[in-house]
Every structure is written in structure tokens, then in C-alpha cells.
């Protein structure tokens, strides 16, 4: 009889791992708390570092769920779990329950709620938006206006919003926001000819291949400027433009600037879904509320409980290719585990 797996989370990682497992001959059920599959990828417009259309990835996901060995349960969440013989018995919040041999947690991340950094004015000033809001604006397309209906002449990107910050409790670096910022800065420079764009950073984390090159392109081709200094407060002028105050640490003097739009590069957090599912499954969490890997170097997809695995950003920030690789690796680990049983 086919062995069965329950995947908690129908985003990129969950679907990729499930498809890989189905191809290997397993029967997979995916429960996803939203009504649509695909997770956060559905919100993106173009992907770094090469401006690939996110619809390519979304199409890839749609194809993956067509298999007859994958059953999808939208609007469903995990409610309780019991160990049963050699597997698990999982009850959900809907009428359906699952008798499975292994569980894969692919509950993903949540976006940092920028209102928590009150001094940046998100939710208070109209012209302060997050990178996620900006992607939405890109998807809508058309002429780009700020909240006041004006074509911005000057835009500021603020790095490390909610990450690397003891005040929000997220001490870690969220990895992908710097490259997101540069990507979006270039997109804006393309959309609005002649716009001045400034990126306010503490460090620039261009860790991946082509990332550092993109940074260089941003400077050379699009004239994007980089100021090393952490934003301390933003306030609003009469005409709705935003006055930002930071220090230009490299020249050693405070700097203030009026901009028409502020984009906050918000980080990834371990969301409520991960907290709930992980607590119910009784796996260990790390200090930053992501699920702990049993072996951070050698076996990243294992949790502290046998039979429960992870894929994707529920263990930490990842980019899309990294998520896909991690998901495939999870499938392999599950296969190894189920073969040995």
C-alpha cells in the first residue's frame, strides 16, 4: 500500500515537496489555511536577480498540483495530532482527518507588520509603504503614482525594517530584503524616468550570485544612490511628502531629506501558522521563533521529532530557488525515512 504524507501548508515549498513525493510514488495530502494555493509567491511581480516574471513560478505551481496522487484541502488547518502505530493521526479544523506516515511542515513565513516600527510612520502617513505594498502596485501596473496622486520625484528605500532589530525581537538578518530593495529600486527607475532613488542601509547583504552585480548595475545604469545610515524617524510635511532623518555615517553628519515615497523593506518572520502548527506537533523552536532544524549543517529538513519534517521558510528566511531546493531535499529525507520503516 502506498505510504501517505500530510503537508501542512500549500505554498511554494509545500507544493514542490509534495509533487516530488508524488512523483516518487507516495500519496500526499496538502492542507492550506487560505483558499488559494501558492502562498506569498502570488503577491510578487518580478523576481530577483533577473526580473523573471513571478507568473512563471505560479504557473509551475499550478502544474504541480494536477497529479492524482496529491489531494488538496484549502481553508483547512491542523488542529491536533496523535501518534498512531507507526504514523500519525491528524485532525483538522474541518470535518476531514488524516491517517498518515509522515508530516511535512511547510507553513512558510509572515511579513513583518511595519506598524510596529511606529517611528517610520507606516499606517500613519500615506506615503510610507512596504515592499509588499509596492509589489502590489507593480502588479496593478499603469502609471505609477504615490498616495497623493503624484508621480514621485524622489523615493527612499529603508533597509532592515523589523530585522536585525532588538526592539522588535527579530535579531536575525532576513537575507532577501536587501536584494528585493535593489530590484524594486531598479523597477521604479524603469517605470519613472528621471526619478531619484536613495537606499538607506546599515549593511548591504548581496549574498547570492548575480546580486552584487545587480547592485553595481543599480548604481551604474540607473543612478540609484546608497546612503549608509539607519532611519530614525519620519515625519510628514504639509504636502504629504515625507521628511526623513538619518545619519550619513560615511560623511559623519546627520542628513534630512524630503521624499515623495518611502518604501520599507520588511523582513520575514515566523508567522502564526508556523507557531500554531509547530506547537501542535510539539517540535522545538529556535530563539527567533522559527522551527529548529535537528542538525543545522547536515540534516536541515529534520525537526526534533521523528516523522515530522520541514520545508521552506518555516525554518528561516529563504529565496525562491533556495525554497525549491529545500523542498526537494525534504522530499528525499521523507523518502529515506519511510523506506527505512
Amino acid at each position: 500500500m502506498k505510504k501517505t504524507i500530510l503537508t501542512v501548508g500549500g505554498g511554494l515549498a509545500g507544493i514542490e515537496a509534495s509533487k516530488t513525493l508524488a512523483d516518487m510514488g507516495y500519496s500526499v495530502s496538502i492542507i492550506e489555511k487560505e483558499n488559494d494555493l501558492g502562498g506569498k509567491v502570488n503577491q510578487w511581480h518580478q523576481l530577483f536577480p533577473d526580473f523573471r516574471e513571478s507568473s512563471d513560478v505560479q504557473d509551475y505551481i499550478k502544474q504541480s498540483t494536477g497529479s492524482k496522487d496529491i489531494m488538496v484541502f484549502p481553508g483547512t488547518e491542523i488542529a491536533s495530532i496523535e501518534k498512531k502505530d507507526n504514523g500519525f493521526y491528524v485532525k483538522s479544523n474541518k470535518a476531514v482527518a488524516f491517517d498518515i506516515d509522515a508530516i511535512l511542515l511547510a507553513t512558510g513565513f509572515e511579513i513583518f507588520a511595519a506598524e510596529r516600527k511606529e517611528e517610520f510612520g507606516y499606517g500613519i502617513y500615506d506615503n510610507v509603504i512596504t515592499s509588499v505594498d509596492l509589489e502590489q502596485k507593480f502588479r496593478k501596473g499603469g502609471q505609477f503614482y504615490n498616495a497623493g496622486g503624484k508621480v514621485p520625484k524622489r523615493i527612499a528605500f529603508i533597509h532592515c525594517v523589523g530585522s536585525r532589530d532588538a526592539k522588535t525581537g527579530n535579531h536575525y538578518c532576513s537575507k532577501v530584503c536587501c536584494i528585493t530593495g535593489i530590484k524594486q529600486a531598479i523597477e521604479l527607475a524603469k517605470l519613472i524616468p528621471g526619478v531619484e532613488i536613495f537606499c538607506f542601509y546599515m549593511d548591504l547583504r548581496m549574498y547570492g550570485l548575480e546580486y552584487e552585480e545587480l547592485y553595481k548595475t543599480a548604481q551604474e545604469k540607473y543612478g540609484i544612490q546608497f546612503i549608509r545610515g539607519r532611519l530614525s524617524e519620519a515625519s510628514e510635511n504639509i504636502d504629504n511628502s515625507i521628511l526623513i532623518k538619518c545619519e550619513d555615517t560615511l560623511s559623519g553628519r546627520p542628513l534630512k531629506m524630503n521624499v515623495d515615497l518611502v518604501v520599507l523593506l520588511v523582513g520575514m518572520e515566523a508567522g502564526e501558522g508556523t507557531q500554531n502548527a509547530g506547537t501542535i506537533c510539539n517540535v522545538e523552536f529556535g530563539s527567533q521563533r522559527f522551527i529548529s532544524c535537528r542538525d543545522a549543517h547536515l540534516r536541515r529538513n529534520l525537526t526534533t521529532r521523528d516523522g515530522i519534517f520541514t520545508a521552506g521558510t518555516c525554518t528561516g528566511p529563504m529565496s525562491i530557488p533556495e525554497t525549491l531546493e529545500n523542498a526537494r531535499s525534504a522530499a528525499l529525507e521523507i523518502h529515506k525515512y519511510l523506506s527505512e520503516k
Binding site: 506598524e115 517611528e119 510612520g121 499606517g123 500613519i124 502617513y125 522588535t168 524617524e233
Partner: protein, 609 residues
């Protein structure tokens, strides 16, 4: 034997009493001489007024009956009272008994202290027996207190208290001799009563018991000697121990009623207060830094001041939240004492604010001073702007762009001279604008503007008071969303400035206030206090979470406060939605705003966690 010659055994008592009286009186005189001129005048003037009688009453109420301790902790109050009042009764009623037996008032004082030794006749009359038994019961009353004190030293949880204060060697001698005094007296009286049958019901019974096992006669003199030695030791140790608080507290009560004030420079009034601390430990319990494992509470600071070993680590590690001052049964001005010490410690620090310039001044009837912290919580700033706009008030936003700090954080750190310069600079601007009202968003600023700035003809109000005024005058309309709110009293606004009701009056019109156990004068501190210079951030989080968790138990829809620092501190905990009172009001104003409708919709979406 001639009863009027002092027997040798009374010598320790006599020496002790004389030493005690000389030391205490010279200390009082020195303290009085060390007062400032104006305070000395106040005392002289006050001596012949009703204040003296009031002080006597207060001394009885507090020094003997310990009413204030009773209110906070009945068991602890009983312990202190039984020792103080009980001993007082022993002396007074013992004296009356001796007067009655002698038939006159002319006898040496040690006769009544060692009454049962000197008057060995069995009391035949009813009055005599009544006195004897009464004295027995008073002694039992005191002994119950001694027993409780003994227990408290080893297990303070019996009193529902978390910890007990630690002892120095002078304190130990005094404490142990104090513990011995009354049991030894009981022993001596019982032994004497067992031999001479001159005691009351209790001492007679115990004496009979002892007589059945021992030959009592030869124990009489030694037991009274031991008693005398115990008293002598205690009285000699007292002026050099914490028990100096007994006379000091009485002296303090008198001085305080005469209107003597604490000064910024350390003078003898500071010492009077420092020595009045009875080490009861109530401040330890009230202090929230307990939960963070910090041991720098007021009682330790006062001990360190007495022993001249106060370190900056202890001195600057205090939130100055006022909870200890609130509950101190002696009424010591703990916050001001600490600040006085901080002034002393930072006397040589340099500051220079020559760079402060006059700056531009706008003419306006109303000035709005947001405060440094409010710039980091723009929700409050924007809400106030909206409220001003809707109410149609023309105002000058004084510190919108460039303004120095109000000066109070410098004062809390002991640097009053430096703060003067900031105060001067701000004052010029305020007076120059011709305003009659100064609206302040931050309670820290509010306190210094109200108390120290000396702004004649200008009403200084916190924004919650101002908003209440606007509502009552009909300039803005309230809208009740019926949400369950807990109001957190900021330390600086509540205990610091006595503003408890105005914010609540405002909030009642906007939601349902949930009554909580620790509110108003007993409110908790958020932990964010600027007055604590060296506490690590993790410990602040412990204090903050303690407060947040206790609020969470009431399951409110939101936590409302009126201080930007409290708001920022609680928001860090990320457990409850926190709003300032101005934000609650601004969100529920009618839809008049200087931008189009989109803005007001957007603002009402703001979920400030």
C-alpha cells in the same frame, strides 16, 4: 538595704540610658543646627502652634501604633506595634504602678523599670493585683511581637513579604539584645514571683512552675542583672544601629509638620529622613525590580547612605516610579532623597549648552510641546494635530523642528545646573510667544514644565486634561465604540503629578474602562523609565512583561496610556494593542480633516500594535 541607692545590677541600665539620651539629644541638636536658615525659622515659629500637638498625635499614631504599616500589611503592623506600643505601655503603666505602690512621685526611675525586684511584697489589694496582672499581659503582648520578629528574620513569607533586609554588625548587637530584653524580663519577673509571690497571674504561675524545679533565691539577682545588661546593650547599640529610627522618626514627624523642606544640597534634613527608615521592608515588596532580580531598592540605598558606601550601581539603578514612596509608612521622601544623592554624585560632571540659540518664536495663545519621545511615537503627534484642527484651535507646535529637550532627564540624572540652561532656553520661547496655555504630550515634560519652569499666567496642561476640557466645552464630540479598555497610569502623570481622573473621564466617553487591582496610586511601572540610567534592556523587558501579563489577565480589547515612553515600551512586548489617549480620541472624531476622506479612512485602519 536602702532602696534609693542604685544596686550594682542597675548600672548597665543607667549607663545605657544616659548614653542613649546624650547621644540622641546631641544628634537632634546637630540636626537642628544643620537645617537651613529658613527651615530653622519654620521650626521656631511652629513650636508654639497647633502643629506641635499634631506632631505628638502623629508620633503616637505612627511611632507607636504604626497605623501606616497596618494598612499595608496587618501582620507586620502588629509586630511593630506590639514591640513599640507594648514597650511604651510597660514603661508608662509600670511607672504608674510604682507611683501607686510608693504613694508618691519621688523615686528613681530604675525603681519602676525593675519594679518586681524592688517591691517584693505580695500585692494584697485588688488594685495591686490588677496592676501586676495587667503588666503581665502587656509583657505577653510584647513577647508575641518578639516572637514574630524572630520568625520574620528567618522566614519573611510568614508576613506575605518577599524578602527581609540584611543586617550590619551594629544592627546585629542591637537586634539580639532587643530580642533578649523581654524574655529576660519575663524570666526575672517569674523567678522573683516564684520566690516572693509578688507577681501577676502569669508570672506567678510560671514562677510556681520554676520553683518546683529550682532553688530560685540565688537566681533572682543574676536574672535581673541579665535583664539590665540586655537593656544596657540595646540602648548603647541603638544610636549606632538601625533602631536609631525610633527617635529619628519622631523628630522627623515634628520637622515635617513644621514645614521643613528637602533641599537639593544634602543637609541634616536629609539625614533625619535617612535615619528614620525603620527597615520594615515594605518598599522591597512594592518595588517592581524584584521580579528582575535587582537589589537596589530604597531601603538598601538608605542603608548605604548611612554607611557611606553608596555606589553609582545602586544609586542610578532605580526607576523612580514612586511605588516605594507611596507605601513607605514613615513617609520618607524616597524619590527626592535619591535625586539629592544623584546630584551629589555627579557634581563634577561637565555639560555645556552654549550652542543653544534663541530660535524662532511664533505668537500664539496655545503652545503644543510634544516632547522628545513623542517624535518616536508619531501616532500621538498626528492625533494631537488632528484634534487641534477639528477643535479649531490655533497653536504653535513649539518643538516640531528644533527644540532642546525639556531638561527633566538631566534633572533625574542629578544634573540640575545643566538642566537650568535648557529650561532657560525653552522658557524664553514660551514667554516670548505670549501664550496662556501650554499643552504637553509627555508626562515627564509635563512635570518639569508645571513645577520648575515658573511660567506665570500660563496654564500648563497634559494633553489628556486639554482634551477633557475640549470635550466639556463641546469643541469636539466623543463617539463610544464600547471597547474594553484598561488605562495604564504613567508613573510621572499619576503618582508624579496626581492626575488620575482626567484621562479616565475622557476614556469613559470612548469605551468601557476595565477596573484593575493595581491602578491610580498603586499602578505598575512600564519599566521604560528614563530615571533608571544603568538597568540592562533585558531587565526592563522583565518589568514590562510583568505589567503586560497582569493586564492581559483582564482580557481587554486594548491598553490605553497617556505617555509616549509607556506606549513605546509596551509596544515592544507585542502582546496587547497599545494606544495613547490622544489616538483613541482622534480615531473617533467626526470626519473633518485637512486631507480628503481617504486619509481619515486610512488612519482608522491604523492598527498600532
Amino acid at each position: 538595704m536602702n532602696r534609693y541607692l542604685p544596686e550594682l545590677f542597675t548600672l548597665p541600665f543607667i549607663i545605657g540610658t544616659v548614653y542613649f539620651l546624650i547621644l540622641v539629644i546631641t544628634r537632634f541638636v546637630r540636626w537642628f543646627l544643620g537645617l537651613s536658615k529658613i527651615d530653622k525659622i519654620r521650626v521656631w515659629k511652629g513650636l508654639r502652634t497647633r502643629k506641635t500637638w499634631q506632631s505628638v498625635k502623629d508620633s503616637v499614631r505612627e511611632g507607636l501604633l504604626h497605623r501606616s504599616i497596618f494598612k499595608v500589611n496587618p501582620r507586620l503592623g502588629y509586630m511593630h506595634m506590639s514591640l513599640a506600643f507594648g514597650w511604651f505601655l510597660l514603661i508608662v503603666i509600670g511607672h504608674i504602678e510604682t507611683m501607686w505602690v510608693e504613694g508618691s512621685v519621688h523615686f528613681p526611675i530604675y525603681n519602676s523599670i525593675f519594679h518586681r525586684y524592688f517591691y517584693t511584697e505580695h500585692p494584697s489589694s485588688f488594685t495591686g493585683q490588677f496592676f501586676a496582672t495587667l503588666m503581665d499581659f502587656i509583657l505577653l503582648f510584647v513577647l508575641s511581637g518578639v516572637f514574630l520578629a524572630f520568625l520574620k528574620r528567618f522566614s519573611s513569607s510568614v508576613f506575605g513579604m518577599q524578602r527581609s533586609t540584611k543586617l550590619k554588625s551594629g544592627d546585629r548587637i542591637a537586634l539580639i539584645s532587643l530580642w533578649f530584653i523581654f524574655p529576660l524580663r519575663f524570666l526575672a519577673e517569674s523567678i522573683t514571683a516564684g520566690y516572693y509571690h509578688n507577681g501577676g497571674v502569669v508570672s506567678q504561675s510560671v514562677g510556681k512552675l520554676l520553683a518546683s524545679g529550682f532553688d530560685l533565691e540565688k537566681f533572682i539577682y543574676p536574672s535581673w542583672t541579665a535583664y539590665s545588661l540586655a537593656i544596657g546593650f540595646f540602648l548603647i547599640a541603638l544610636p549606632n544601629s538601625r533602631y536609631m529610627h525610633i527617635p529619628a522618626e519622631i523628630f522627623y514627624i515634628f520637622l515635617r509638620n513644621y514645614g521643613v523642606k528637602l533641599k537639593r544640597r544634602i543637609n541634616s534634613y536629609t539625614n533625619v529622613q535617612v535615619f528614620s527608615c525603620s527597615r520594615c521592608g515594605i518598599c522591597l515588596d512594592a518595588c517592581q525590580m524584584n521580579v528582575a532580580g535587582i537589589r537596589t531598592q530604597s531601603v538598601y540605598m538608605l542603608k548605604n547612605i548611612r554607611n557611606h558606601n553608596l555606589t553609582d550601581d545602586v544609586l542610578f539603578n532605580c526607576l523612580l516610579c514612586g511605588r516605594c514612596q507611596q507605601t513607605c509608612p514613615v513617609g520618607i521622601e524616597l524619590n527626592d532623597l535619591r535625586i539629592t544623592q544623584r546630584i551629589e554624585s555627579t557634581r563634577q560632571y561637565n555639560s555645556s549648552y552654549d550652542y543653544l540659540r534663541e530660535g524662532k518664536i511664533e505668537k500664539s495663545k496655545v503652545i503644543y510641546f510634544a516632547g522628545c519621545m513623542t517624535h518616536l511615537t508619531p501616532g500621538i503627534k498626528e492625533s494631537m494635530k488632528k484634534i487641534f484642527h477639528v477643535a479649531g484651535i490655533q497653536y504653535w507646535f513649539m518643538d516640531e523642528e528644533k527644540a532642546p529637550c525639556c531638561g527633566r532627564p538631566l534633572m533625574q540624572a542629578g544634573q540640575f545646573d545643566a538642566a537650568e540652561k535648557l529650561i532657560h532656553n525653552n522658557r524664553q520661547k514660551i514667554l516670548g510667544s505670549g501664550a496662556d496655555t501650554l499643552v504637553v504630550s509627555c508626562p515627564i515634560c509635563y512635570k518639569v514644565f508645571y513645577e520648575d519652569y515658573a511660567l506665570p499666567n500660563i496654564k500648563v496642561v497634559h494633553h489628556s486634561e486639554f482634551i477633557l476640557d475640549l470635550i466639556e466645552k463641546g469643541k469636539i464630540e466623543a463617539a463610544n465604540e464600547n471597547k474594553r479598555m484598561i488605562y495604564h497610569d504613567p508613573c510621572e502623570l499619576g503618582r508624579g503629578s496626581n492626575i488620575y481622573d482626567q484621562p479616565r473621564e475622557v476614556l469613559r466617553r470612548y469605551g468601557r474602562l476595565v477596573p484593575i487591582a493595581e491602578e491610580k496610586e498603586n499602578s505598575l511601572c512600564c519599566g521604560g523609565s528614563l530615571s533608571n540610567i544603568n538597568i540592562p534592556m533585558e531587565k526592563r523587558d522583565v518589568i514590562m512583561n510583568y505589567a503586560l501579563d497582569s493586564y492581559k489577565e483582564y482580557d481587554p480589547d486594548m491598553l490605553v496610556t497617556s505617555c509616549p515612553l509607556c506606549k513605546k515600551t509596551f509596544a515592544r512586548g507585542n502582546k496587547l494593542e497599545v494606544k495613547d489617549i490622544a489616538e483613541v480620541v482622534a480615531e473617533n472624531l467626526s470626519d473633518v480633516s485637512r486631507h480628503n476622506d481617504k486619509k481619515s479612512v486610512h488612519s482608522s485602519k491604523a492598527q498600532l500594535v
